[in-house]
Amino acid sequence: MGVVVQAKGLNQTIRACSSSRVTHLSKLDGVSEKVPFRTRSAVAAGRLAAKTSQRLGKGEGMVVGGKVALRLSPKAMTDLAGDRVEVLVSSTNGKTSTTRLLATAVSQTGPVATQPTGANMNDGILWALANGPVGAPAILEVDEAYLPGVVSATHPKIIIFGNLSRDQLDRMNEVAILARKWRTMLAANPDITVVANADDPIVAYAAEDASNVVWVGAGQVWTSDSSVCPGCGALLARDGSIWHCTGCDRIRPKTTWELDWTAGDQGQSGTGFAIGPDGTRYSLEGLQLPGRFNASNATLALAACDQLDLDLNKAVELMNTVTAVSGRFATVKVGELTIRLLLAKNPAGWSELVDIMPPAPTPVIITINSNAADGRDPSWLWDVPFEHLRGRTVIATGDRRHDLAVRLRHAGVDFVVVEDPYAPNAQLPPGARELDVIDCAATYSAFHELRTRADRELASSRPGRDQREQGVV
């Protein structure tokens, strides 16, 4: 389990879903009696595999557990889902945070089954359903490409579409192709209510034909992947936040929910309100997750809570307790440095992260990998406005640090290339070591390497305590 210094705000409901707890249960416990025997046995076998994986120190075991269970019982996801999947969340950016905010808000009605980490492909989803509280409503995040399969296996009541932009193009292909697959998926499942971001034209295209859509003006900062109408291929025009197509009659749908965001001064956080269908303004000032994008995530989550007939003031109150989500924005110690972990995996995410970093000349660490989960082609680095980082020295690291170095050279940003900046003898720029906390933006796999490393170091510095008993998530 990820050990995060700021885990205090997490509620017990979500803790109960962690696989570390359920591994202590006897073999067939924790799965409803209604679930077919084959799937229950498969889950038991998965638990054994997960436990072995944990013992070997190979990770949290969720993916392995899910994989084994699915192999033994291919219908396991459908069996475990039953009719309790309330909401699936899919989005290029923000799905883990939105899912956590929503699951925490929904916990006002009792226990919730959700992923303790961002494991959002079939294996991780299966494992969340197998190990969450028995029969509890499920709130799950789903990888964009896996969504159609997961929808037909779990029949959710609601799906949240946050945004679609370029990410892992080697695996996802192009965003318009993905949007077309989502359309086909919704056409085959007309009962689903879609909570969709009206400000993203690709999302709007994906959701426009669904019978029930709750349109949310959740904002869009990154517009480079939606310059063309995904329906007719003509150019889109924008008048402020209102987009329309110059070739067909597509236009930003009329919203029932809206985010009203006011940006803060450089380095200062802004403030936001989620405005409901009746004009009620829900203040998002108390959110501990930083930035406009998290206010946007919270607005989408609140719109889904409204569909679930929850107490919305209570929902905001609970969302305010969420601090770090699966390590995002957590402060951890790695080697010689204390870092704030920022997940930065694509240009759209990056374009908003730059705003929450402390102003120049404060140095920052950037870690770029190109493993399968990061996308094997880091060309996207050239779409990130790194020019905004001028005036400071970037510590470039990760497997693709040389690609980053060339990019920063072209952007006119000073940098040092360091293989391991956390080593005691690492050559860091002046002032880096003196910082109490240094921001570290990392791609997906690099982010998880850092979390694992921080956990391991924390565990070894506290002998006599089982690592799994410490703070969860």
């Binding site: 370029r166 193009l169 080697d170 292909n173 192009e174 965003v175 318009a176 192709i177 480079s224 992947d225 310059s227 063309v228 995904p230 007719c232 291929g233 003509a234 150019l235 399968a372 094997r376 082609d377 060309s379 996207w380 680095l381 050239w382 779409d383 040389h402 690609d403 170095a405 060339v406 990019r407 050279r409 072209h410 952007a411 290339v417």
Partner: protein, 274 residues
């Protein structure tokens, strides 16, 4: 000699996925190293293409955007005219395909291209995604156009057939090729592709890219010009009317060294480095 050049970026909002904006940045950056002043004209669809550019560039894009861009370029006519006059043109991926006679639209039906390159594109049996390492083979009057290996990343579904009016830009380098880095980067490779695993798919027949006159089309992303400064210097030299002596920056050389080593050790079957 022309030490002030105009770069025309064609439809960057239609043809600009996969970090293609990086090619424009690389051209500006490398031009500055050579004391060449650049101005950039970005052309949006609906606007006419200026005829007084010194270098025209087109990037990759999605299929609907590609069809729209090809149609706009055919109606405008300027790009065909300047390319025929020997002005430099660089086109990447979808841009490369649409400079040919035809390419597949989103339904796989042939859509008409601009016809600047003598190439035709249909579909590969499976999408080509991965590292691409190629050795330039194109020549002008017996002189090689480029000497250094080209490195990049490909992500496309097109099989491109080069006709007699153009020549392939390069040939795919077989896997396990030996690379020497000292004193200069050379590939120790005898050009026999038969039966060997290769680093990438390119055009689909062992070749990669195409060129005729001063137009170059390629599947190399990366971005292509950031990873291959020799190609950037060739294009800028054409635009400026003088041969540019190579200027190599240490972080670019380091990146090339790392990528070439990785590509030569790239296992296509598992998509991992060996």
């Amino acid at each position: 000699m022309n030490d002030k050049i105009q770069i025309v970026s064609i439809f960057p909002n239609l043809l600009g996925t996969y970090g293609d904006g990086g090619n424009l940045m690389a051209l500006q950056h490398i031009a500055a190293l050579h004391g060449i002043e650049t101005t950039v004209t970005e052309v949006a669809p609906g606007e006419s293409i200026p005829s007084d550019g010194d270098l025209y560039i087109l990037g990759g894009g999605e299929d609907t955007a590609q069809v729209a861009a090809a149609q706009a370029l055919r109606e405008d006519g300027t790009l065909s005219a300047v390319a025929a006059d020997g002005i430099a043109v660089l086109a990447i991926c979808a841009g490369y395909q649409l400079l040919g006679h035809e390419f597949p639209d989103s339904d796989g039906k042939p859509a008409p291209g601009v016809g600047i390159l003598d190439v035709k594109t249909d579909r590969l049996p499976a999408r080509a995604v991965g590292e691409l390492l190629v050795q330039p083979t194109a020549q002008i009057d017996g002189t090689p156009l480029l000497n250094e290996p080209l490195t990049g990343f490909e992500n496309h579904a097109g099989a491109t057939h080069v006709g007699p009016g153009s020549q392939p830009l390069a040939h795919i380098v077989p896997a396990d090729v030996k690379i020497d880095f000292d004193p200069v980067l050379t590939l120790n490779w005898n050009a026999t592709l038969d039966g060997q695993a290769a680093v990438g798919i390119g055009n689909g027949d062992g070749t990669e890219g195409a060129t005729s006159n001063r137009t170059i089309g390629t599947y190399l992303h990366g971005p292509c010009l950031a990873r291959n400064p020799e190609l950037a210097e060739l294009l800028l030299g054409w635009a400026a009317g003088r041969k540019l002596e190579p200027i190599r920056e240490p972080e670019v050389e380091e990146l090339r060294k790392v990528r070439l080593t990785a590509a030569a050790n790239y296992d296509k079957t598992t998509q991992t480095q060996r």
